[in-house]
């Protein structure tokens, strides 16, 4: 018998998600956000160098920085531990489904569910812009799609790890929230404040910034604009000034991807080497 269990788990997970309220609310949130930005004429305004579709895209990405990581964490951390608590996992793992297919099926389906609405919203904005005769910054669009793809991958990996390790859903959600607060705290503003107040060396601040996937994403989003723009934020400016644009773009894609793979591998390892129910 051929081993197609991953395919069937994935299909089942996707079917379940398409029926869930959270998936449609989340899709409407991002789609609606783009529509509102168009309706408010954001593409026609010009603020400190940003204009046209580029301005809309960067605003969209700023929203993603705030919403996407915490959304991914909160929804993903409940998946494995939730199935364990409700005996769904006990049942599924009594079927011819391997441990890795079960976990990977959940991971891949969540990736599709989370990335697709964001990608469609961004693509929709580009198509609508083209229809209205606005110039499309294709290089920016391509970079943003890749950044969103790797950000989703990274936080899904982290979320899976928390979900595999947590004993209860409450514990998992609490851990996800603390992690998110920590990552937000290690963004630009607080880092620079700490540098001035505690006389921390700039290298240490950059080091913290570079290991924080949120900061890497934020800097990556702004990297194609003029690096002297004040909107960039102090740490981003410093990072870019130190490592250069080309290197940073490569880093902002590869680092979250590696982080995502690392956490996914650790979750798989932990899942396969411990009691699963």
């Amino acid at each position: 018998m051929k081993n197609h269990d991953l395919k069937y788990v994935l299909k089942l997970e996707l079917m379940q998600s398409l029926r869930s309220t959270w998936f449609w609310s989340y899709s409407i949130l991002f789609g609606g956000f783009v529509a509102i930005m168009f309706a408010l004429g954001i593409t026609e305004s010009q603020v400190i160098g940003f204009l046209g579709l580029g301005r809309l895209m960067i605003t969209f990405m700023q929203v993603c920085i705030v919403v996407l990581p915490i959304y991914i964490l909160i929804t993903t951390v409940r998946s494995i531990v939730g199935d364990r608590e409700t005996h769904v996992m006990e049942y599924f793992l009594s079927l011819p489904i391997s441990f890795s297919s079960y976990l990977l099926g959940k991971f891949i389906s969540r990736y599709i569910e989370i990335f697709t609405p964001v990608f469609l919203a961004l693509t929709g904005a580009v198509l609508w812009g083209m229809f209205q005769g606005i110039d499309v910054p294709w290089d920016l669009f391509a970079l943003y799609v890749v950044l969103l793809a790797v950000l989703t991958f990274c936080f899904l990996g982290i979320g899976m790890m928390i979900s595999v390790k947590a004993n209860t859903q409450t514990h998992a959600i609490g851990s996800a929230f603390i992690l998110w607060l920590l990552l937000v705290a290690l963004l630009d503003i607080i880092l620079m404040g700490a540098m001035l107040k505690l006389r921390i060396s700039p290298e240490l601040v950059i080091g913290f910034g570079m290991i924080n996937p949120l900061q890497v994403f934020r800097t990556g989003v702004l990297v194609l604009f003029d690096p002297s723009l004040t909107v960039m934020g102090a740490a981003s400016y410093y990072i870019l000034d130190t490592v250069g644009r080309g290197i940073f773009i490569t880093f902002s894609i590869i680092y979250p991807l590696l982080l995502g793979f690392l956490f996914l591998w650790l979750s798989l390892r932990s899942f396969k080497n411990n009691d699963v129910v």
């Binding site: 069937y8 089942l12 005996h87 049942y91 793992l93 009594s94 079927l95 011819p96």
Partner: protein, 223 residues
């Protein structure tokens, strides 16, 4: 019946601990093809833990072989030959139609293999096809889970209180079905209602504090 070449499950010095609590204590036992076993005992005796070890869901100390293989290392291969009915029905969100489709694909069986058994126990499949599983009544869920386990025609059947939610008519059909099930298969039934399963079983095992305290063969012709 239980000859060495017919052994489907064998535990040697099997021990399962949760932190400092020993739930299965140095258990050595073998279950063979053709055996219909009643596994009973008070709450916390280790019945469900033993089932979960057999299903490869728990790590353990000692040796455990299911169909000649380690249930942790060869989980997928073993589960192709194991049917399981849990005590608590999982709150699955998919519809009956999707669930049947899933089982058909996963187990390479026909949908009739499952629907025939469910309908025999009184569950009307057609009018309920679009209903999510978790919205069904307890009895309907149990009938479907039984159908999914039996319809795969497994070599090993593990059932944890499988008839608890069934109505009397469905219960009779279910036990009748078990009585006529593949005589080469191994059946392990966890149940507190001994009178109900007395006519089916040919071995009675009682557990307490992680150990077997009673293991007796039952001659069905005398029974």
């Amino acid at each position: 019946m239980n000859t060495t070449d017919n052994i489907l499950i064998e535990a040697q010095h099997l021990t399962k601990m949760f932190k400092n609590a020993t739930v299965i204590d140095d258990l050595s036992i073998a279950f063979g093809g053709g055996e219909r076993i009643s596994l009973s005992g008070p709450n916390g005796a280790g019945k469900t833990t033993l089932m979960r070890c057999i299903l490869g869901q728990y790590l353990y100390q000692g040796k455990l072989s299911v169909l000649g293989q380690n249930p942790r290392k060869h989980h997928l291969e073993i589960m192709r030959n194991v049917g399981f009915v849990p005590q608590l029905a999982p709150p699955l969100k998919m519809t009956i139609q999707e669930l049947i489709g899933f089982f058909v694909q996963l187990t390479d069986r026909h949908s009739e293999d499952f629907t025939r058994i469910a309908e025999k126990m009184g569950l009307q499949i057609q009018p309920n096809l679009r209903k999510p599983f978790y919205k069904l009544s307890g009895g309907m869920k149990q009938k479907l889970l039984v159908a999914f386990a039996l319809g795969r025609d497994p070599k090993i059947l593990l059932m944890d209180e499988p008839a608890a939610n069934l109505d009397p008519a469905a219960r009779m059909i279910f036990f009748d079905y078990l009585q006529n099930y593949n005589p080469q298969a191994l059946m392990i039934l966890c149940s507190h209602r001994m009178n109900e399963i007395a006519g089916i079983i040919n071995r009675n095992i009682e557990m307490d504090l992680g150990k077997v305290v009673l293991d007796q063969k039952i001659n069905q012709t005398l029974n």
